[in-house]
C-alpha cells in the first residue's frame, strides 16, 4: 500500500514540496534551539509554557476527528460515514504525531526524553498523558491500516479489529480528559483549576476535530476523483454544531462563576484575556475574535442547513476551527500564567524562531497526512471508488 505514496500527479508533489519548504526554516531554528537553549523562544520565568504546549493541547483536541466518525459508524450503524472513517483516523494519527513533536520541541533536555519511560511516575499526569497519547496513536494506526489493507485486497475487515475499535472510543475520551487534567489539578493557577475544564476539552475537541476533517474532505472532493459524500459531511457538521453550542455554553459558565462570585483570583485571568489587566492586553483582541468566530461559525452552520450551501459550510467550519484554535491554542495556556504568583502580569509574545519551529511541526504533520490520504484515495480510485 505504501507504494501509492511514491507515485502521484504533479499537484501531489507540488503540495508535498510546499510543505517541505515550510518545514525548512523551523529545522534551522530548531538546531539553534538545541545549541543555545529555549532562550530563542519568548518564554520566561513567569510564562514558562507558550506556543509549543498550547499547540500540543489544541492538537490533542483535533485528534477527536476519529472518534466522532467511529461512534456513529460503529455504534449507530450510520453507513454514510463508511467512506470517511479511515480519513478521520488518519487525521487523528497525524494530529497525535504533531502533539508528540510539540512536546519534544518544548523540552529543555530533549535527549533525555526516555527518562519518561525509565522512571515512570504514575503520580504525574504527564505520565498518563504519554500513555494515553501513545495508546491512541497505536490504536488508530492499527485500526486504519488493517481496514485499508482489507479494502486494498478486497476482503472484509478482520473481526479482531472490532474490540480495538470499541476500545478506541473511551480511549479518545481519555486523551482529552487526561490532557485537561494536566492543567486542572494545579493549585495556584485559578484559570485552569476548574472542574469544567475536562468537559470543555471534550466539547472543543468535538467541535475542532470534525471541523478540520470536513474541511479536508471538501478539499479531497474538489481536487481528487474520490468523493467522501457530501451527505456524510453535512451529518458530521451537525455534530460540530452540538459540540460548539456546548463549548460556548461552558465558556459562559466560566464567566458566570468568575464574575458573579467576584473572587479576584477567579476572574483575573479572564480579565487579562478579554479586557486586559494592569494595562497589559496583548491577547484581548484574539480572545474576542475567538468568541465572535465561534458565534458566527455557529450561525453559519445553522444557516447552511437551510440553504444547503457548501461554500457557507466551508467558511463556517474554518471560523469554528480558528475560534477553538485561538481559545485553546493560544489563550488557555498563556492565560493560566496570568497573573503570576506575585500578582503581577508578565506577557508572552512568541518569537520568530519558535513560530517557525511550530510551522515546521505543522508542515511535518500535514506531509504525513497528505501521504496517508494519498494512499487511501489512490486505493479507492483504483478499486473503482
Amino acid at each position: 500500500m505504501l507504494e501509492k505514496i511514491l507515485t502521484g500527479k504533479r499537484q501531489y508533489w507540488l503540495l508535498l514540496g510546499c510543505l517541505l519548504v515550510l518545514m525548512v526554516p523551523g529545522l534551522f531554528f530548531y538546531t539553534r534551539q538545541i545549541l543555545d537553549g529555549l532562550v530563542i523562544t519568548g518564554l520566561s520565568r513567569d510564562v514558562s509554557w507558550g506556543l509549543y504546549i498550547s499547540q500540543f493541547t489544541f492538537l490533542v483536541g483535533v485528534a477527536a476527528s476519529a472518534v466522532v466518525v467511529v461512534i456513529p459508524y460503529y455504534l449507530h450503524d450510520v453507513k454514510q460515514f463508511g467512506r470517511i472513517v479511515i480519513l478521520g483516523e488518519f487525521l487523528a494519527v497525524s494530529a497525535v504525531v504533531m502533539c508528540l513533536l510539540f512536546i519534544f520541541a518544548d523540552m529543555g533536555q530533549p535527549f533525555r526524553i526516555f527518562n519518561v519511560l525509565l522512571y515512570p511516575s504514575p503520580h504525574s499526569l504527564m505520565f498518563w498523558d504519554t500513555v494515553a497519547l501513545l495508546g491512541y496513536l497505536v490504536l488508530n494506526i492499527i485500526i486504519a491500516w488493517t481496514a485499508l489493507s482489507a479494502e486494498y485486497k478486497g476482503i472484509p475487515v478482520p473481526q479482531w479489529t472490532k474490540p480495538l475499535i470499541y476500545l478506541s472510543i473511551p480511549w479518545a475520551i481519555s486523551i482529552h480528559t487526561v490532557t485537561a487534567f494536566l492543567y486542572a489539578g494545579l493549585p495556584g493557577r485559578p484559570l485552569w483549576l476548574a472542574s469544567i475544564l475536562g468537559a470543555r476539552f471534550i466539547a472543543s475537541a468535538f467541535a475542532s476535530g470534525p471541523s478540520l476533517l470536513i474541511i479536508l474532505c471538501l478539499i479531497v472532493r474538489k481536487f481528487t476523483a474520490f468523493d467522501p459524500g457530501i451527505a456524510a459531511l453535512k451529518s458530521l457538521a451537525k455534530i460540530v454544531v452540538y459540540a460548539l453550542v456546548i463549548n460556548l455554553f461552558f465558556i459562559a459558565l466560566e464567566f458566570f462563576t468568575a464574575y458573579y462570585s467576584g473572587i479576584p483570583s477567579h476572574h483575573h485571568a479572564l480579565d487579562y484575556l478579554f479586557f486586559g489587566l494592569d494595562g497589559k492586553s496583548s491577547l484581548v483582541w484574539f480572545m474576542r475574535i475567538s468568541i465572535v468566530l465561534g458565534v458566527a461559525g455557529l450561525a453559519g452552520l445553522l444557516l447552511q442547513m437551510k440553504m444547503n450551501n457548501t461554500l457557507l459550510l466551508l467558511i463556517s467550519l474554518i471560523a469554528v476551527f480558528l475560534s477553538v484554535w485561538l481559545d485553546k491554542g493560544l489563550g488557555l495556556v498563556v492565560g493560566g500564567f496570568v497573573p503570576t504568583p506575585f500578582e503581577t502580569v508578565t506577557e508572552y509574545i512568541p518569537t520568530l524562531p519558535e513560530s517557525a519551529i511550530a510551522v515546521s511541526i505543522f508542515a511535518i504533520g500535514f506531509m504525513l497526512l497528505t501521504a496517508l490520504y494519498k494512499m487511501v484515495i489512490s486505493i479507492r480510485i483504483s478499486n473503482g471508488n
Binding site: 543555545d36 537553549g37 529555549l38 532562550v39 518564554l43 520566561s44 520565568r45 513567569d46 514558562s48 509554557w49 512536546i103 518544548d106 523540552m107 529543555g108 533536555q109 530533549p110 533525555r112 526524553i113 527518562n115 519518561v116 519511560l117 525509565l118 522512571y119 515512570p120 511516575s121 504514575p122 503520580h123 504525574s124 499526569l125 504527564m126 505520565f127 504519554t130 494536566l182 492543567y183 494545579l186 493549585p187 495556584g188 493557577r189 493560566g336 500564567f337 503570576t340 504568583p341 506575585f342 500578582e343 503581577t344 508578565t346
Partner: protein, 258 residues
Amino acid sequence: MQINRKEFLKKAGIAGASLIAGGVLYSLFKGDDIITAVVESSAQTKWAMLIDVKKCAGKPDCSACMTACHKGHNVPAIDDIRREIKWIWKADFGNVFPEHTSEYMDVAVRSQKVIVACNQCDNPPCVRVCPVGATWKRADGIVMMDHHRCIGCRYCMAACPYGSRSFNWKDPRKILSGNDIRVEYPVRTKGVVEKCNFCAERIDVGEMPLCVEACSEGAILFGNVADPESDIRRALAGKYVLRRKAELGTNPEIYYLV
C-alpha cells in the same frame, strides 16, 4: 523456516514494543524510592525556616543572604528579569501576601521587602507533577532537584504556586565567570529547572544554610520543627506567623513573623 520481510518486521515490532512495555512495567512495580520517601516523611526531622520580616526590613539595602546563596550555589546573575535564575530574593510585602494587604495600608508598608525562596512544602505540587522523579521530597522534608534527570518540561514551574522555580533558558556556564565558580557545588546545564534546596548539602554535614549564616541581623531562624524543644518550635508556638498561600494545602515550611 521461511520468514518474509513483512513477517519479520511485524515480529520485530511486537518484540520491541513488549520489551519497552515490560521495562516500564518493571520499573513501575519494583517499588519507587521517591514515593516511599514521601510517605515516610513523618520522620524525626523536618526542616523549616522562620523569617523575621521586621528585622529584615530594617536593612532594606542588605543583600547578604542572596549573595551568599547565589555565590555558593553557582547561580548565574542574569539581568533580564524574564530569564533570571533566583533561589532566594526580595519581593514587596503586597506581592508576597496580597491577601494580607488592604487599600489603607501605607505604601511604605506594602512595599516593604520580604525574603522569598522555595517553601519546601510538605505537600509539594512540583513533586506530584514531575514525570521523571527529578524533583522529590527527602525524609526530612527538603524538596530536592536532580539536575541530571530533569528533562526540562517545566511542569513543576506551572505547578508551583509560589513562582519559586527557575529555568536555565541558556547555558549558565557561559554566564558564570571561571574564577567565581565554586567547585563544591555542581554547575547546571541549559534546559533544566533549579531552585533553593535549603542547603541540603550543608545540613547533611551539620552546617546551617548559607542564607542563615550570612544574615547579620539574625532575621532567619532555621531549625527542626519535628523537635518540640527546638528554638524554631518555641518561636512558632507563641507568635502570629504567616505562610504564603497556606489555603492551597501545600503546607509551606517557611514561616513569616510580621
